[in-house]
């Protein structure tokens, strides 16, 4: 299975922000609210992961959770690839 590493997902996340002239901080604890990464951006990132791997993510698999930091986003998408 074609799977992206946490670092690769981080690169894609940086790209999403860069397209809006925003920067992704190096710190995984950075708050999404503060860097302006919102649900539309999160959805875009998920589509980019799908496009890179050529596989559909099963968005329904994991239960709802709190995604507040950069690290939360990366953890979630890494995990989603295993569902």
């Amino acid at each position: 299975m074609n799977e992206l590493s946490r670092a690769q997902i981080r690169d894609l996340m940086a790209q999403v922000l860069k397209n809006q002239d925003k920067e992704l901080p190096a710190d995984d604890a950075a708050q999404l609210r503060e860097i302006g990464f919102r649900s539309l951006d999160f959805s875009e990132l998920a589509l980019r992961v799908e496009d890179e791997t050529g596989e559909e993510l099963n968005f329904d698999a994991p239960g709802l959770r709190r995604i507040a930091t950069v690290g939360d986003v990366l953890d979630f998408l890494v995990e989603l690839q295993h569902q």
Partner: protein
């Protein structure tokens, strides 16, 4: 099996008024009168082998009133063929050798003068809709003499519109292009003096994309668009090539007939046309974002207000028809987005020749707006051709649309997809 074509019944109708109009088919100059005169079964479902056979069947219907469903073999699959045989039609291939009939499962008496259309099937399987030459003839006022291009698939509503015009009005000539000539139609049209052409927005976009210079050499005085949502960008692009032509768009379908005709060069129609009742004219309404038409040109068995399945949006006093109701609306996290409106914005980018906008499954929001585009050909001589990348196109949209309507993923295709109906399913 081949049926002899020498004997045919006496004409049931007066000779069509346009019978001496010129027809150019596959480069050969003919007239309606000079077409072959095969005897068609009655009722017949004719699968025309090529354009000349389709015109032949239409002329025979006009002269003899034969009950007729006209199509091509590629539009009638095995299931449809059986349905037609069950419904009492003799399904007949018409080619250079004549009529090759398959007998109906349950023969029945013909209904004189009846014409059947197959809907394009954009919302499921094609349906049969009953018309007559009269209900299909929507242009009745005297027209200036024109030579029309007919690029449509035989037997479709749009095809019949051009064909009835030429059959019923002297001075309305036809140049018919076969599917394999479609990419090269401007040279055929220029050679035969085509000065009026009707096509889908996809047809026009493809033509502009492939060879705008060749298009500019066609002496067009009338340009008509229909069959798909018409956005401002395509109207403006055609205006640039043909500053003096009349550019019209038409809303028509097998079910409601030709209902809206707009000549002012703008997308949509004025909002004050809504709910205006004029005898003999269609009445246009909007119910729950859906265009509803009450028309004197309805197909048989249809009466009263018909829900068209087309989605509309009123913007700046214009009623825009944005696409099919079941595919135009994209729900992004509870916010409604019209794919047609987004498509219009993308198509308005100077480097975009064609765009398709869809919803794609996404986390959190349920759906997200995504797009495919074909970029306009660039001038190879120019070093800085300014080909936009995905980010540039996203920014273009972000400057013009609410945030949730901005397509975040935009894929670049190398050619404009098109189907036999000349539509792109956008």
């Amino acid at each position: 099996m081949t049926v002899a074509t020498s004997r045919h019944p006496a004409p049931a109708h007066p000779e069509p008024a346009g019978v001496d109009n010129r027809l150019v088919v596959g480069g050969a100059a003919l007239t309606w009168r000079s077409l072959p005169t095969p005897t068609l079964p009655d009722p017949a479902a004719v699968l025309a082998h090529s354009a000349v056979h389709a015109l032949t069947a239409a002329r025979q219907h006009a002269v003899h009133g034969t009950e007729l469903l006209l199509s091509t073999a590629s539009r009638v699959d095995a299931v449809m063929r059986n349905e037609l045989l069950e419904a009492g039609f003799t399904v007949s291939v018409l080619d250079d050798d004549g009529v090759h009939p398959s007998a109906p499962a349950r023969p029945r008496a013909a209904e004189p003068g009846r014409l059947w259309l197959l809907t394009s099937g954009s919302t499921g399987r094609p349906k049969r809709v009953g018309h007559t030459l009269d209900t299909l003839t929507t242009v009745r006022a005297d027209q200036p003499d024109r030579t029309w291009l007919c690029p449509y698939a035989p037997g479709t509503y749009a095809w019949w519109q051009v064909v009835t015009l030429s059959l019923t009005q002297p001075g309305q000539h036809l140049v018919v292009v076969e599917p394999d000539e479609l990419d090269d139609w401007p040279s055929v049209a220029a050679a035969h003096g085509v000065d009026a052409a009707s096509g889908t927005p996809t047809f026009w976009r493809r033509t502009l994309y492939r060879d705008a210079d060749a298009l500019a050499r066609v002496p067009l005085r009338q340009i008509t668009l229909g069959g798909e949502p018409v956005d401002q960008a395509i109207l403006d692009q055609l205006r640039e090539v043909f500053p003096a032509a009349r550019i019209s768009w038409i809303y028509a379908s097998s079910e409601v007939g030709a209902s809206i005709v707009v000549h002012d060069g703008r997308a949509g129609f004025p909002a004050d046309w809504l709910d205006r009742e004029t005898p003999g004219r269609p009445t246009l309404s909007v119910r729950d974002d859906e265009l509803v038409v009450t028309s004197p040109y309805h197909g048989a068995g249809l009466a009263g207000p018909i829900r068209t399945g087309d989605r509309v949006q009123v913007l700046d006093g214009r009623v825009l028809i944005t696409g099919r109701l079941d595919s135009d609306e994209i729900n992004v996290g509870g916010s409604k987005v019209s794919a047609g409106v987004v498509r219009g914005v993308l198509a308005g980018h100077p480097a975009v020749a064609w765009a398709r906008v869809t919803g794609r499954r996404a986390p959190v929001l349920g759906r997200m707006v995504v797009a495919e585009v074909v970029l306009a050909p660039t001038d190879p001589a120019s070093v800085d051709s300014g080909v936009p990348d995905e980010a540039a196109l996203v920014r273009w949209c972000a400057d013009r649309l609410p945030e949730h309507a901005v397509p975040r993923r935009i894929r670049v295709l190398t050619d404009i997809p098109v189907k036999e109906t000349l539509k792109s399913d956008v």
